[in-house]
Symmetry: D2
Subunit: 166 residues, 4 copies
């Protein structure tokens, strides 16, 4: 599933999977999960990816005064999610620079296996006052500059999700 | 403010402004409005735009079995919004086709006048079972095929917000 | 409507009315506003009541290190609220002591005039670290010890909403 | 842990435990989980309790046209929950009648073991149009008329949480 292409030199997972069960509160009167919730699920995915990479995001905030602030968020909704569905949020570091990190997401319905949404978020590293800063050195290993070559589906990745918005 | 001067030939507003006051529940531990709320505010803006264009979105659902389902959502966050801030969500029809409608958004801080976020959403017209359908004829006048030429800031619009995600 | 029984000696309003328009995001698949949102609307009502009483809640937090922390929350849901309904949240100070404040709420549907929900919340004054403290002296005038006698509907108030939970 | 020992006569669990991890989106600027989220966690607990009792709540809605509509909700907040905390929501059927069901909740911090909140909700069984109806016969076995005697902490239960609101 794309994990650890060369395990001894790159032991970090290139994505993390998190399970989300759709809450009643997350549905709307159309009978499906309201779209803004996907961005919350993406955040749950990011936090879990951090944990699987080897650190706790909350400690990055508390101990290193470094917040991964959302600068852009995008989601494409392909199929609806419904109450009580169990979903997998697959989260990747899509790339990073000194002060920015980019994550990408795929959301699958666990029952049907279908890909129901894809997304991407761009972030700026900030201190607690919201001032941009460099990602502390100790975290750089977790966020490679360009993660495309570690992608599980490289062919898929060349077609950018945002193209459809053009 | 960008509204049509020649009222008799084009009485419809080319955008609608809605006021949002940031709720405590919408803040997060960073002390700012959590980003997924902007997509909810966009929805509030769409509903208000429909009303100012001349119809109630709820009746479009109830009487014409036509739902404006979100297919894509994008937001760029430029500056934070804080608890109790009053914001203006300016919503436009950015374009439409037979089965799709595109909206664009600008969010301003009313106190400072600053543009704090921009966004865009793409929608597919669906029936109550989620099957794509054509926008009923009676609503077509509200959604011109290409709204760019009615934009308040045409020069701005040529630079697409999504470019920064590339 | 119960305001200012003796205007010259008690110029403060005994309640504040806030308008809420039900958002699509607040509905659930039953087609009504999901119940937890009422507690958010209560908070919107509290903030507006503070403003009408004469101070900004955000400044109470920022300048006086005093947070009105929720210790208990109760709501009785009598009739559903639906998407795009406009509601009035009527908020009162129901009582207070040195370190606690109690608010009560009535939610009306503006179109039908019907009372659709009632509620009550108890709060403890805390500093930013969550430690209980006394309400600063300058705010005491806003929170009378027992507000029952200033109620708009005293007969109503004698029947406590919480009784039905017993 | 309070589960029925005499399995052959009463195989149903008298409560269900669900794990909740506090999301960033659920925090507020006070740095703790915003209080209305507890009512959403209660709902997650109810759905899980139904599953452990032996049925899927979504099928009760879809196949039996029976909705467990919230009529009252109460929560007492004892200690804060913070971002990324893992919580246990322990849910019980507190009692029921022909058309009503009552649930009670305890929320524990898994790390400290502390009880951080208790709550209770009352519900009316309704059809999809919101009209009260009797609980279908096939579900009655899941909702005993009075569940107090099956409580894990009977002494605790005799002191009703709502008393403090009086």
């Amino acid at each position: 599933m794309g994990r650890r292409i060369i395990a001894h030199s790159m032991p970090m997972p290139d994505f993390a999977d998190t399970t989300i069960r759709v809450r009643y509160a997350e549905t709307d009167q159309m009978g499906v999960a309201y779209h803004s919730n996907y961005f919350i699920w993406f955040e749950v995915g990011r936090v879990e990816l951090c944990r699987q990479l080897g650190f706790e995001y909350k400690q990055m905030e508390a101990e290193d005064d470094s917040f991964i602030v959302v600068a852009e968020a995008y989601c494409r909704f392909k199929r609806p999610a419904r109450f009580d569905d169990t979903l997998t949020v697959r989260t990747r570091v899509a790339g990073s620079q000194r002060r920015t990190v980019r994550f990408s997401y795929e959301v699958f319905n666990q029952s049907s296996g279908e890909l129901i949404a894809t997304g991407e978020t761009n972030h700026v590293i900030c201190d607690r006052l919201g001032r941009p800063k460099s990602l502390p050195v100790k975290y750089r290993k977790y966020f490679p500059a360009n993660n495309r070559d570690r992608s599980a589906n490289p062919s898929n990745e060349s077609k950018r999700e945002t193209e459809t918005l053009q």
